[in-house]
């Protein structure tokens, strides 16, 4: 799976988890938490949606890998393979 596709999956999930957020101007290399109103509960939802939709597991010690959109893609792409 290409990193572009993984990025789209992640953005789709964020749009559902945080429906009031504007995702258009999101900077891929900056912290998601700082740009969006996401807290630990929302990150849990992102992880749960990855499992539910794509059967991708993110163990809790790896939650830090989801800090930015770029780090998400980098960390998740091999898992989608």
């Amino acid at each position: 799976m290409s990193s572009e596709e993984v990025k789209k999956y992640v953005l789709d999930i964020i749009a559902d988890v945080a429906p009031d957020e504007e995702l258009d101007g999101l900077k891929a290399s900056e912290s998601l938490r700082d740009q969006l109103d996401l807290d630990s509960m929302d990150f849990l939802d992102i992880v749960m949606e990855l499992r539910k939709r794509h059967k991708v597991e993110v163990p809790s010690e790896d939650y830090g890998q989801l800090a930015t959109l770029n780090s998400c893609v980098e960390y998740l792409t091999p898992k989608f393979a």
Binding site: D16, V17, A18, D20, D37, D39, M41, D42, D45, S60
Partner: protein, 465 residues
């Protein structure tokens, strides 16, 4: 069909329904077991026909106010987080804001609304010497981490002492927060105080159109749409456990198997299902109440009064404790649900009056005495209504709940409304797999108990698997 579940939830109150939604949303096989034929628990509803007008009115058992008001899309608010977690759109709650509320003591009154500036300016006017210190207190509260699951009991009065020197102001600030959520007499745990201060003074009150029924129906619809199973008239009579929970027995003998049980029945109540009640009897909360509902045809008198809720106290010292008499009429919460937004066309002329009450004394009454005492509570409540509204109002419908009514309908020992004084906080019990949600986990009220259900199911139902 197998009776094996990923999780079993005891109770279809606010916390149980919220927990159920989270678990079912992520494909857990979950069942909610509720002993009654309707949901809502301490905040359910019922319908009555009013003879005079032939109308059928839905009454809320509890709902005075939904705390934690947030505007649509407002960030970092508990209510916004709750909606996100449950995936329920803001507009579905159909919230109407309070006009303003009043803390009315013998020698002073303070107004507050969903705009915190009103309360601050009232304090600046009535207690000019204290307002700088009040600002410092508010700054401290805003920064405080009140949801820390490891927090231990700190006395609120001792903290207030270090900020404010005026006794009357201290009493007036703490009174609404005690009666809207303290399981402890006289004082309250400081983190609970901070939660309540934010949810009532900094965020504020609203009410859904249709009352609590609107909330309950939203929760049930959501739960069922994500595949959750809900069983009414299904009282759990025993929890089976050895070194870990195994499941529950229903009153009719049926066994349901699960390695995870989330109970909203209360901490001592849950342990009684394990036949270990004795060891926890001392922790049963002492605070219970009577609630009187009065409907008048004189809706204008209510609208003219404008205020939504009055925290009324006859003296300047606020006594928050189990009274030595059936009820304590020296203070009351007086709520006018019609006054959520002025010119509320849906108003039906209701006043609700809450008094602190003594469960043991109510429990001892014979049937005849009980009915007579309920009538007396109504008379007291009616007198107070006339006094506050400043005019005589007719009454076309009345109803009174006592601490024994609360016990009968919710199963909470001693009719306790705010639960045990010992909160489990992290939700864990001495038995692996058995978790406490709702009131006795430490987050209470309608919003608080939903957040409790969400956070405990996240922690032990989703993250741990």
């Amino acid at each position: 069909m197998t009776n094996k579940y990923d999780a079993i939830i005891i109770g279809a109150g606010m916390s149980g329904l919220a927990a159920g939604i989270r678990l079912a949303m992520y494909d857990k096989k979950v069942v909610i077991l509720e002993k009654h034929s309707i949901a809502g628990g301490l905040n359910s509803y019922y319908a009555r026909r009013i003879k005079a007008s032939k109308e059928i009115i839905n009454f809320d058992v509890g709902l005075h106010a939904l705390t934690n008001f947030a505007n649509k899309g407002e960030r970092r608010r508990p209510f916004t987080k709750l909606l996100k977690q449950l995936r329920i759109p803001y507009d579905d709650f159909k919230l109407k804001e309070q006009t303003f509320s009043l803390i009315k003591f013998k020698s002073a009154a303070l107004k507050f609304s969903n705009d915190f500036e009103l309360m601050r300016s009232e304090i600046a006017t009535v207690f000019p010497q204290q307002v700088d210190q009040f600002d410092k207190l508010v700054n401290y509260l805003v920064e405080y981490n009140e949801t820390d699951l490891k927090a231990t009991y700190i006395s609120t009065r001792s903290v207030l002492e270090t900020y404010l020197s005026d006794d009357l102001l201290k009493e007036m600030i703490i009174a609404p927060l005690l009666i809207y959520g303290s399981a402890w007499e006289e004082d309250m745990d400081f983190s609970q105080f901070v939660i309540m201060f934010k949810s009532i003074y900094l965020e504020g009150f609203s009410r859904p159109v249709g009352g609590v029924r609107t909330i309950i129906e939203l929760l049930i619809d959501k739960y069922q749409s994500v595949g959750g199973e809900l069983r009414f008239k299904a009282p759990v009579s025993q929890i089976k456990a050895d070194t870990h929970v195994k499941g529950v027995y229903l009153a009719d003998g049926e066994f349901l198997e699960s390695q995870k049980i989330f109970s909203s029945a209360g901490l001592p109540e849950t342990f009684s299902l394990l036949n270990e009640a004795e060891s926890l009897k001392s922790d049963i909360g002492k605070m219970s109440f009577t609630e009187s509902i009065i409907v008048t045809q004189n809706k204008q008198a209510i609208q003219n009064y404008k205020a939504t809720i009055v925290f009324y106290n006859e003296s300047d010292k606020y006594l928050y404790r189990k009274p030595d008499t059936l009820i304590d009429t020296s203070s009351a919460v007086f709520c006018l649900p019609d006054n959520y937004e002025l010119e509320n066309k849906d108003g039906n002329g209701t006043a609700r009056i809450t008094y602190m009450a003594n469960y043991d004394l109510w429990k001892k009454l014979s049937k005849a005495e009980y009915l007579a005492q309920k009538e007396n509570v109504y008379h007291q409540a009616n007198k107070l209504t006339q006094k506050i509204l400043g005019q005589k109002v007719d009454c076309i419908f009345k109803d009174v709940f006592s601490p024994t009514t609360i016990e009968r309908y919710t199963g909470h020992f001693s009719g306790t409304v705010y639960g045990a004084t010992k909160k489990t906080r992290d939700g864990q019990t001495s038995i692996p797999g058995l978790y406490i949600i709702g009131t006795d986990q430490g987050f209470l009220g309608i919003v608080g108990s939903m957040l409790s259900g969400i956070s405990m199911s996240n922690l032990y139902g989703l993250m741990e698997s």
